[in-house]
Each structure stands twice: as C-alpha cells, then as structure tokens.
C-alpha cells in the first residue's frame, strides 16, 4: 500500500486544520455512501411495508410484514425463475472456464500455425456492440428451434473473447520452463496443461468464474430476447415483467427486486476481492 497524502512524518494529527479536513473528508464520503445506499434501503423498506404509499413516505416501514414476499411467491413462479437464473449463470460460467482456459493456454504456450492471427481475431470481436450480433444469433437460434429453451439461453454466451484474453495473459506470465520440464518427464501437451499450468491458474480462474457468474446473473438483454415463456424467464427479465404486471403495487415490485438483488449482494460481499480484480483486469463495463 502506498502512503497517502496524510501519511508522512511531521504531519500534525491535531489542530483546527487537521480536524476540519478530517471532518470534511469523512462527512463527504459518508454522505455519498448514504446516498448511494438509499435506493437499496428503500427497496427493502418498501418490500417489508404492508402499504408503502399509505400515510406518507417514510424511510422505515410503518409495520414490518412479509406479506409482499408471500404474495409474490404465491402468485409467481419465483422458484423456477431462481433455478433458471442459477442454471443459466452456472452453466455459462462452467463452459467459459473450460473453453477459455483451453484456448488461453494454447494461445499462450503452444506454438501453432496461425496462433497470433487467431488471437487477434478473438480480441477484435470484443469491440462489436452486442446488438450487432444479437439479431443474427436470434435468427440462427429460431431456425434451430432453440428460442425459449435452455440451450438457446446458454449457447451464445459461451463465446467470450474477454475470458480468453484474461487467461492467456495469466498463462503467458507463468514460466515456460515448467512446461519444458513436464515434457521431458514425459507429459503430453494436455497433461502439461492439466497437471502443471491449470493448478497455477487458480486465482485467475476464480476471478474469471466469479466475474462471469455475476455478469451472466445480471444479464438482461439476452434473456429478454430469447425467453418468451414465463417459465423460461431469468430473474432480471421476471422483475421487468412483474413491474409491468403490478404497475402500482410497489411493495410487490420491490419484494421482487429484493429477491434478485440480495443474492448478488451476498455473492459480492463474500467474493469482493476476486470480483473487483476481474473488473479491473477486464475493464469491462457493467
């Protein structure tokens, strides 16, 4: 950790200057953090209120009740949506980890014909806006009869140039001598990859895994397009339709929002380090 502006010898941690500065610093970041958390707080508070618009608005629910959640779970297939989302995010993550580690390894450590060109091609597709490919992919999948199916939901998401890029960088930074030694000991290429390099790539795999899981979990565009039946919705799409259905019943809508948001918060708090690293490395937009 680098020393901050405040950390040098002779800096007076007393006096009016110090205290006014400190108050200003804490005051502004605390105010900002409270403003940033306000929507979350109000989401939970509304979800727990019996009638959120009655008797004026308050930051605290007037009477705490789980009625909204009960009604939501009784009238909507929330469990199915939850399973859909976990299946979607989990399968996509598993595919990405396997495919991208294989390709990332080959592009970093195996000298084969056309390697650089292939890598360039992969990387070049990162810049194409999703909307360019979504429409042709939708046509392709509707010709295959995959609209509104799990395979249709999952398949297009497994081609992810970003993951290849991330893992290639990681494998490239591992010494080649390890592979040489393994080969002299009689390992073939796959054994070298699987037994020597892959275990060393665990941190990068964790980063990519968590990053992929969360971005797939919160993906809105693709499930919105491909899932036409209510039973095929993922949570973000379901939230969108619940809101359109219960237009003014904000207690119910916020209960639905809480159901989708709270697991993400839990995942984030437990794996914050990896997720932030993934974000920083990939430079992807959320």
């Amino acid at each position: 950790m680098p020393k901050s502006n405040y950390e040098y010898p002779g800096y007076e941690r007393s006096g009016i200057r110090y205290w006014s500065k400190t108050t200003l610093l804490y005051g502004s970041v605390t105010l900002g953090a409270l403003l940033w958390s306000l929507p979350f707080w109000w989401m939970v508070s509304t979800a727990l209120s019996a009638d959120p618009t009655a008797g004026g608005v308050s930051l605290l629910p007037q009477s705490v009740t789980l009625a909204n959640f009960e009604e939501l779970f009784a009238t909507q297939p929330v469990g199915r949506w939850f399973l859909n989302t976990i299946l979607f995010a989990g399968t996509v993550t598993a595919f990405n980890l396997v495919f991208d580690s294989l390709a990332g390894y080959a592009l970093a450590k195996i000298e084969f014909v056309g390697r650089e060109k292939l890598f360039l091609l992969f990387v070049a597709t990162i810049m194409v806006p999703a909307m360019v490919t979504l429409i042709p992919v939708y046509i392709l999948l509707s010709n295959l009869g995959w609209v509104n199916t799990y395979q249709g939901l999952i398949a297009p998401m497994i081609a992810n140039p970003l993951g290849i890029f991330l893992l290639r960088q990681h494998f490239k930074n591992l010494p080649s001598a390890l592979g040489d030694a393994a080969k002299i000991d009689g390992c073939n290429e796959f054994q070298t990859f699987y037994r020597v390099y892959l275990p060393l790539a665990k941190p990068a795999l964790a980063t990519l895994g968590i990053y992929t899981f969360v971005t797939t979990w919160k993906n809105f565009e693709w499930p919105l397009i491909i899932a036409s039946d209510r039973s095929m919705y993922t949570l973000p799409v379901a939230l969108f339709t619940v809101r359109n259905q219960y237009f003014t019943e904000w207690g119910l809508v916020m209960a639905a929002a809480a159901v989708i948001v709270l697991p993400v918060i839990a995942v984030f708090l437990s794996a914050q380090r990896y997720f932030i690293r993934g974000m920083t490395l990939s430079g992807m937009k959320g």
């Binding site: 294989l102 909307m131 974000m279």
Partner: protein
C-alpha cells in the same frame, strides 16, 4: 592443435547448443504435433466463436442491406436510388434522413427511422453528461478512499454495489425512488420541489443520467484505485519536499500520473454509455414521450417489436461505427499494456 581442455569446452558448448535445439524443437516450434495440439485446444472456442460471433457479424452485414420481416421470414435486398444510382442501401437511407430541424421532436412517433436522430440526440446528451461527471466523481471517491480513512472496505462496497445490479433491477428500483410518491420527493417536498421526475418528458432523461451515474461511479472508482496504487511514493515525497501542499500534489503528481487510467476510463465510459439500454428500458420503457429512447432501445424496438430485422441491424452497424472508433483506441491501449508486461 587444440588442447584437450579446449576441445572439451567446444564439445560442451556444442552439447549445450544441441540440447537447446532439441528442447526448442520439443516445445517451441510450430511442429505438426503442436499444430494438432493447438487446434484441439482452441476448437471448442473456435466453433462457439464462428457460430455466435463471427458468423453473426458477417450475416448482420448482409442483413443490414435487406428488408426483413420475421413473419414473412425472407430477406430481400432493399434498393434505393441515390443521385440516380440504384444501391441496396435502403435501410441506411431510411435511417439517415436529414436532421429533422423543422419537425417538432416530441411529435415524432410512429416510423422508427424518423426516431433515429431523436435517439441519437438522447444518447449523445446522456453520454455528454454522464461520462465527465462519472469520471471526475470516480476519481474523487477513489482519492478519498485511498487516503488514511477508517472503514475503507465498507465505503468502497457502498459505492461499488450498484455496479453489481442488473440493469433491470436498477431501472425498476429507481422508477420507484423517483416516482411521485417516492423517497426523493419526500426530501424535496418541504422545499416545494416535489415533482413526477420519472413521468415527465422534461426530466426523464435527466433521471436516467442519475441512474447511470449511480451505477457508473463505483466502477470508475475501482479503476482509479488500481491506478493510484501504481504511483510511486517517492513522487509524493519529492513534491512535499519541494513544498507542494495537498491540493498541489493532487494537481501535479496524482492527476498527471494517472494518464493511462484516465484514457482507459474515458474510452470505456463512452463505449458503455453509447450502448445504454437496460436501465432505460426498465426505468421508463423509452418514454415518456420518447424522452429515454436511446439508440439501443430503438434498435431493440425496431427488431423485436416491429420485427424489422434489416433496419434494426443497419442501426446497429451505425452504432458500431461510432463505438469502433473508441474501441480501436482501447485496443491500441491494451496492446501497449501487453508490451509492458
């Protein structure tokens, strides 16, 4: 005649060379074996790529010249005449009609091509406001949270959490926060400023900007925090010895030393805001009175509500043209970073 020791040395170096050659043959060269192995390793991704990225890009290009309708299921080239020449660029010509100065923006309603410039206007306005504020905000928050402050982790989590949310969740939550009976109005009502922020065409785009900032500052904060870690302490020490105060150190040491981060953050932010979609749709479905119809919202509508796939793809390519310029710089930047590894 060479002495025995010299010949030993010679053969030893020869042996070394031949071992090195053998080793490099074993692991480095594009041999048949390596070609096969490399091919087997990349084949799953190459298949997925061809089916879901490369193929679709090529097909999208063809599609953008066709008149396509989901229900008819056929695509035929859409011809148009430009200066007496017949060209299959009907979709592009429809979209890029002259800037409708004379039209009343708000009365633009039905045909989606006349909405194009309206969507461009909304998107450019959104980008022009969100990008600078989000960058300066991200920088300031990172600066504050990089200093000697207690509870850094809690603060960072607070600013970063919105980044984790699905656009659908952000949009829907904010719809409620900014509604007539919402919590924001509860604070504004005593000041006499309560208003239906989400329901008025005058304020809906501004409200959307607020959601974008809420979601974007945490992301930039993380990139800036990473950048701040790379500035050597010695520079701050030197500046301090030269008599620079805190503000001057930020101005002359911190800010210029984050040049790469600034660039990276800016390009990413522009690419992201140009493609804003989910929050706009979930927040107000492009309304009210089209005030939050951004380029991608319009593309989505054109494709999946009106099933005009050809026209929608042409719009997507026009967006691509803009994004490409910024992405190109981003790619160049990544190349530079790779060299420095």
């Amino acid at each position: 005649m060479s002495t025995p020791s010299e010949s030993d040395e010679l053969s030893a170096s020869r042996l070394g060379t031949s071992i090195r050659t053998a080793l490099s043959n074993l692991v480095d060269r594009p041999t048949e074996e390596n070609n096969l192995a490399g091919f087997l390793f990349v084949i799953p991704n190459v298949v997925a790529f061809t089916m879901f990225l490369l193929g679709p890009i090529v097909y999208a290009f063809v599609l953008s010249f066709q008149e396509w309708n989901l229900f008819l299921g056929t695509g035929e080239l859409y011809w148009t005449e430009i200066y007496g020449v017949r060209l299959p660029v009907g979709n592009y010509a429809d979209i890029l009609q002259p800037w409708p100065w004379a039209n009343d923006w708000a009365s633009l309603s039905s045909p989606s091509y006349s909405l194009w410039w309206f969507a461009v206007r909304n998107t450019v306005l959104y980008t022009a406001v969100v990008v600078p504020v989000q960058i300066v905000g991200g920088f300031l928050v990172a600066l504050a949270l990089d200093s000697r402050i207690r509870g850094k982790k809690v603060y960072r989590a607070a600013y970063f959490l919105p980044v984790m949310l699905s656009a659908a969740a952000s949009g829907v939550i904010w719809r409620w926060v900014l509604s007539e009976n919402g919590v924001i109005n509860e604070f504004l009502r005593p000041l006499g400023l309560a208003y239906g922020w989400a329901n008025s065409p005058d304020t809906a785009l501004g409200a959307l900007m607020l959601i974008g900032l809420w979601g974007g500052i945490g992301f930039n904060m993380i990139l800036y925090l990473a950048g701040l870690q790379n500035i050597p302490d010695e520079l701050y020490e030197a500046a301090r010895i030269d008599g620079a105060n805190g503000l001057q150190r930020i101005r002359h040491v911190t800010w210029p030393n984050l040049r790469n981060t600034h660039f990276f953050v800016t390009v990413l932010a522009i690419i992201g805001t140009f493609q804003v979609f989910g929050i706009a749709l979930a927040f107000a479905e492009g309304g009210p009175a089209r005030a939050t119809t951004t380029i991608v919202v319009l593309i989505y509508e054109t494709a999946f509500v009106q099933s005009s796939f050809g026209r929608a793809t042409a719009m997507a390519f026009l967006l691509f043209a803009v994004v490409f310029v910024f992405s190109y710089f981003r790619y160049r930047l990544e190349q530079q970073e790779e060299v420095s590894y």
